[in-house]
Assembly symmetry: C2
Homo-oligomer: 466 residues x 2
């Protein structure tokens, strides 16, 4: 195999191309085995990871499969199995709403390539798995999460975020939805109603639904007066809110409304679930203090995630419970285990205690700020007053409403035809959808900084032909 | 610092002892900093992991604390903070039912030190975090679990365990309890009743309770006739069973009862949740085929875990859903994310595809078989006919009933006074407890092989004074 260091293609891609070519030409017949990763790496004097990357791509594209004990075996590329595998993969991708690599993807939620600090994570994982601590992998661990991690979190919450808590109140969880499911065990679906913002985060709403709770929508899209009118009527025992950056409208709950909400909870023997997923992303002004910090009657359950600043694939978030609920939790989960791997927790603990976390957060904050500024400026330049932009100097997306009669779906499809992905917002509304549902979600956490301006330009061309 | 290679103490222990001594003597005053791990490792010409282990122990015992950005800071060992920290830790340990390192701990569930393949796990994690794949850490991943992992699992289930399934039916989950909670979203707590074995796994029962389902106990401790009588009366839509090794009685469900159970489900439009946690541990005869393999009417939900053979701290198990429920699951969880970290899944996938998993399983099976044999032989030798032993050549524990009038608690305390831990079984019973609740649980998955015989000898002495 001839590899060129001068090629534009990375090494693994060259290896992949060569082997694929050989398979297609019949040099590796159906059922034959590829050279071992170790062997080929030695032969080509490159790293095993390079070979591994090439082989992974071949597997992904259905040319070979990895069989336990046999290594990589070449598939019949015209066989039913190979075709079926490809089709299943494409069907699965379609089902996930993941079109194949569009040029400009203004998706929400995912992070930009390179955000996850793989090198540091690897070094810390190495250290831990080499040390005596790794023995912990043989045991069930603290059901509420590793004590040292809860201490790192509580320390930052208390000193940096005005959230008043002890490590004992922090519960490590495997994501927002499981957190909500677990929290609902403290309530009773037969008698307790849940209220939430409308529009609001569909992941939360579906978690309430799955647990059999009746969910009352409270309008936030016009003003907070309507929100409170709906909330008062709801007789809810739990209300889910996103005060630092309401999802998806990006509104910030005013300080007066925050006091009012806490007073409501206190008067109604209810609890507030404050999802502060966007705490760290404010680009214009300092954040408002969280509800939790204003709560003197232990009515706020605080929730935050590591998905927006470290990794959505890490599946880690946490709850901070007021003391009365913590007692109830300990009783109800007396024989339960944690759902978060010890190793993830141990690595994150050291990542925080060694200062990497603070650097990571600053880096992601700075990057998102630049992207936010580029996106708002580009929308102004290229779309001008043919659209309204709803944003608030916060969050990881903004909303765009086009001033003409086209439907949301027509706009999404026109953009997609030009290789630009923007997203609908209908699913965030419960009940009858007002006009505002015609707003489109344009996210900036995943797209590369340098793609934002050309992406908006392409969008303008797709929508307005210029 | 003088370290000795001839010492009986490991290096890290020597370092720990020296620093602790210095702190106690006031050489490191309150608020001073320990040398950096890197610096001390260089000075002593040992690895950073050694220093890290020593420092971890100092942290654990409340002598120092790790402060972000400041390193390891010496605490005032007589201060309230240090005392409180120690007390909290001890209180937490007590709450978890974890007394400090008893000499002979016949606990259930945890694995023996050294079971987790830390070295291989580390090497694979390294490879993955060095490769292009690590970019996946920036995205939300397949909500049902990584396709390659589901394929590895389905392949083994189909070819080795008689479980008939495709990768599409396998759902990766973060543990039995969350699996049950999620599964219950497919049922309705207002109308659907759940049945389960009595006695049975308390973790399952509490998960049903937390989701607000009424649970009907079905007696398995005498004969399966009573189980079916209770089940018929229950009108349940879901029944939880552990047919390969009933927990905690270790009974195997006879083949005739298996057919009967499936027929019951089919006739009643109900589902069976088959928790096959003990499939891999049979020491006398070949396993019965799982219920799932006999099910021709898509009534069985199959569940298995990696906790008993790889790591309880990994927090990974899986469900295999029949097609109709899979459709429903996809709808209900349309906007949900997976709760299992991508990295754990990616490492486990390669661990399986490279053949490590099969070796790991054989190793743990062989070890547990030897331990089972030693334990049953030792019980026979030292306790003889003063006790009855309930076991079935399966599982990771057995039950011991003492032939006298002492209560379970008296027996547990007598053993504990002799530094031997055995466990009660009362909590596994629902409703009124029959005589059989006086059986004690003696586990062998965690205790070292060579501790079993002396442990049983100590138990005999504690109970019968010889």
């Amino acid at each position: 195999m001839q590899l060129s260091e001068q090629s534009d293609l990375p090494l693994y891609q060259q290896i992949y191309e060569k082997i694929r070519h050989d398979i297609e030409e019949g040099l590796y017949p159906h059922g034959s085995k590829l050279p071992s990763i170790r062997g080929l790496a030695a032969e080509l004097a490159c790293s095993r990871n390079t070979i591994d990357a090439a082989y992974s791509q071949l597997v992904q594209e259905g040319y070979v499969e990895s069989r336990p004990g046999s290594g990589y075996v070449v598939l019949d590329i015209r066989s039913d199995a190979a075709l079926l595998q490809l089709q299943e993969r494409e069907a699965a991708a379609a089902l996930l709403g993941e079109p194949r690599r569009p040029r400009y993807n203004f998706t929400y939620g995912n992070l930009e390539a390179g955000t996850f600090p793989a090198t540091v994570w690897r070094a810390i994982t190495d250290d831990i798995l080499l040390s005596v601590e790794s023995g912990t992998c043989n045991t069930y661990t603290d059901p509420l999460g590793e004590e040292a991690l809860r201490a790192e979190i509580a320390w930052r919450l208390s000193t940096q975020c005005d959230v008043d808590c002890t490590p004992g109140q922090v519960i490590i969880q495997p994501g927002t939805q499981v957190s909500i499911q677990n929290l609902l065990a403290l309530f009773d679906a037969r008698t307790d109603v849940v209220a939430m913002e409308n529009p609001g985060y569909i992941g939360a709403r579906e978690a309430f639904d799955r647990s059999g709770f009746r969910v009352v929508p409270c309008r936030v899209d016009v003003s907070y007066d309507e929100f409170f009118a709906d909330l008062e009527r709801s007789q809810a025992k739990l209300v889910y809110v996103t005060p630092s950056s309401q999802f998806p409208t990006c509104k910030t709950m005013p300080i007066k409304m925050r006091s009012k909400l806490i007073a409501w909870a206190d008067a109604n023997d209810a609890y507030i679930l404050e999802d502060d997923y966007c705490r760290d992303f404010r680009y214009k002004e300092r954040p408002q203090p969280p509800l939790q910090s204003m709560d003197h009657c232990d009515r706020v359950i605080y929730m935050d995630t590591f998905s927006k600043s470290l990794s959505p694939a890490l599946r880690m978030n946490y709850l901070v419970l007021p003391p009365a609920l913590l007692e109830k939790w300990r009783t109800l989960f007396a024989n339960a285990y944690t759902s978060v791997p010890w190793l993830s927790q141990a690595v994150l603990t050291r990542f925080m205690s060694q200062g990497h976390w603070d650097r990571q957060l600053r880096r992601v904050q700075a990057k998102n700020k630049r992207k936010y500024e580029t996106l708002t400026a580009s929308l102004h330049t290229y779309l001008g007053d043919r659209v309204s932009v709803l944003e608030n100097g916060t969050g990881l997306h903004l909303l765009v409403q086009v001033h003409d009669e086209r439907t949301q779906q027509e706009l999404i499809e026109a953009a997609r035809a030009a290789d630009v992905l923007v997203y609908g917002t209908e699913k965030y509304w419960m009940g009858s959808r007002p006009l505002t549902t015609r707003m489109l979600l344009v996210g900036f956490s995943s797209i590369a900084e340098e793609d934002i301006e050309p992406g908006v330009k392409a969008l303008a061309k797709a929508w307005f032909g210029e």
